[in-house]
Amino acid sequence: MVKRTGARSLSVKIASLKLKNPVMTASGTFGYGEEYAEFIDLNRLGAIVVKGLSITPRLGNPTPRVVETPAGMLNAIGLQNIGVKAFVKDKLPFLRQFKVPVVANFFGDTVHEYVSAARELSKAEGVNALEMNISCPNKQEGWIVFGTDPKSMDGVITEVRKATDLPLIVKLSPNVTDIGRMARVAENAGADALSVMNTIRGMVVDIRRRKPVLANNTGGLSGPAIRPVAVQMVWDTCRAVSIPVIGMGGIMTAGDALEFLIAGAVAIAVGTANFVNPVATLEIIEGIEKFLAEEGVSDINDIIGSLRVNE
């Protein structure tokens, strides 16, 4: 590798979206940005991905909603959110103050709800891209999770694609046999980019009470525990499609982020780490810069996808 000095470029592109660095926040772990503004300068982030939105507000699940597991946590928030309208009215003005792309994560129970949310969000000033969470059950098709059934997935993405001109990121579920196949379905249905990955289904049992700890019984596993699985899924996805991939799952440090970038992710998102360390995103940005300097690489894009496999 040629050692280069001078300014280092961290900027990356996700479809038409330009980020000053590849470090995003993972949906549901960063609220609507407000809570973190007292810990970090939001302007330094690559992008802010907000908590999942639905066309109508959701109450979410009863508690306990979270429980810690070894090197991870399960959550079953139940997609509590204020709804698209309140988001646009009450939260977007705050986010517009910053020079950071805002990615609106959204979901629905039906294709129609997905489409409505996408349409409303696309009209709003200050939403720069959409991230579609397809790890939700389809109310109209026996509650099959959209993201685990190629047909449902194709259907809902195709419809949403028609409803928006914004860059459309589809967030894949890891709870599938072949993520590469699902990635191709999303690509063909019109996704501009993919987020890999959402949480893995899991359960913790309270042995004294003989009950699941979470009120919702099951939850989604996140945090460092799942990182090796996420790196694998990102690598599998990158080999399956030609659209950009955003990697996430257990990223705590710059070193972790670099694993995903080297495996092919164009950007990464920090989730559970924000809970543990509210300045994690900034430490990761700084750590990536330091790594580039140490390695004598001037452009992060020379790192992205640089994985050489062992024969």
């Binding site: 549901g28 772990t29 960063f30 609220g31 407000e34 809570e35 973190y36 007292e38 810990f39 908590k51 109450l59 979410g60 508690t63 306990p64 909603r65 979270v66 429980v67 810690e68 070894p70 090197a71 991870g72 946590m73 959550n75 928030i77 509590q80 945090g223 460092p224 525990a225 705590m252 559970t272 924000n274 809970f275 543990v276 360390n277 509210p278 300045v279």
Partner: protein
């Protein structure tokens, strides 16, 4: 002054078999906490335990933070194994605080709930009637300190090993009853005698009935599993009566609730608003 900082442990010693007092020296100047606020404290050194754990501020003196905690599970066990000189990340002060009492007040502590109430009792010296309930005598801590600070202390234990045998809420009820007979307090005097409580949900629930019947204001510090402590994860919600809904939509909307975050809108709520 950032709410996220590192501290060196300057003390982490047992108060008795079940409780430890953690004293932290922040590396920098920090924001002074108010009674009832809490901190998220790192309890391990690697990724297990992963999340910080919430602890009420127990004391803040000479820029030192101290916390009284009970070893319950993985996180508190791990914390209990750390030593002087170890460095921890801390977030805080977080959440709201107990509203200022207007005269004398009643503090109702169930078990480790004492930790949250002591700063209030300490701040308003000789103004608190402390009701302190525990499983047994081994679950009572900090009594010496408390005796000086409180106006009067009432103790109950489940097994009668200290104080009266029975529930602390019964003691509160009896006390309020006697007070009524003795003083015939006017609604204003009554209003002055506000109640502050921290303890397990069954205690708070029983208390809510007593205080409602007595027409006294009561503020309860709530506990929920927390992931972030700063309002981002929505993990720690409690059901709060949706007054707007009841007002707007009348009776059929009564019993409707919204979720509020213990870490942000709480941990202290008006006990009347809580939907149990």
């Amino acid at each position: 002054m950032s709410k996220f900082f590192t501290c060196e442990i300057v003390g982490n010693s047992g108060q008795n078999a079940n409780f430890k007092l953690l004293t932290l020296q922040p590396a920098s100047q920090i924001i002074a906490p108010k009674p009832g606020q809490f901190y998220m404290i790192q309890t391990g050194t690697a990724c297990d335990p992963l999340l910080k754990r919430p602890f009420s501020i127990y004391n803040f003196e000479q820029n030192h933070l101290s916390f009284l905690y009970r070893i319950r599970g993985k996180g508190t066990l791990s914390l209990s194994q750390l030593r002087e000189g170890d460095v921890l990340q801390v977030i805080g002060p977080l959440g709201n605080s107990y509203p200022e009492p207007d005269g004398d007040f009643i503090a109702v502590a169930g078990g480790i709930g004492i930790a949250s109430l002591l700063p209030l009792i300490r701040k308003y010296r000789q103004r608190a009637y402390l009701f302190y309930g525990a499983m047994n005598t081994g679950d009572l801590v900090m009594l010496e300190e408390t005796r000086e600070l409180a106006k009067e202390i009432f103790i109950t234990t489940d097994d009668g090993s200290d104080g009266q045998k029975g529930w602390i809420t019964h003691a509160v009820k009896d006390f309020l009853g006697e007070l009524k007979i003795a003083n015939q307090p006017s609604p204003r005097r009554k209003g002055a005698l506000s109640i502050y409580a921290c303890g397990p949900v069954p205690m708070l629930k029983a208390l809510s009935e007593i205080t409602r019947a007595a027409g006294l204001p009561c503020y309860a510090s709530m506990e929920e599993h927390m992931a972030c402590g700063i309002g981002a994860c929505l993990g720690c919600v409690v059901k709060i009566a949706d007054k707007r809904a009841s007002l707007q939509r009348g009776a059929e909307a009564a019993g409707q609730f919204i979720y509020k975050r213990v870490c942000k809108e709480g941990p202290i709520f008006n006990i009347e608003d809580i939907v149990w």
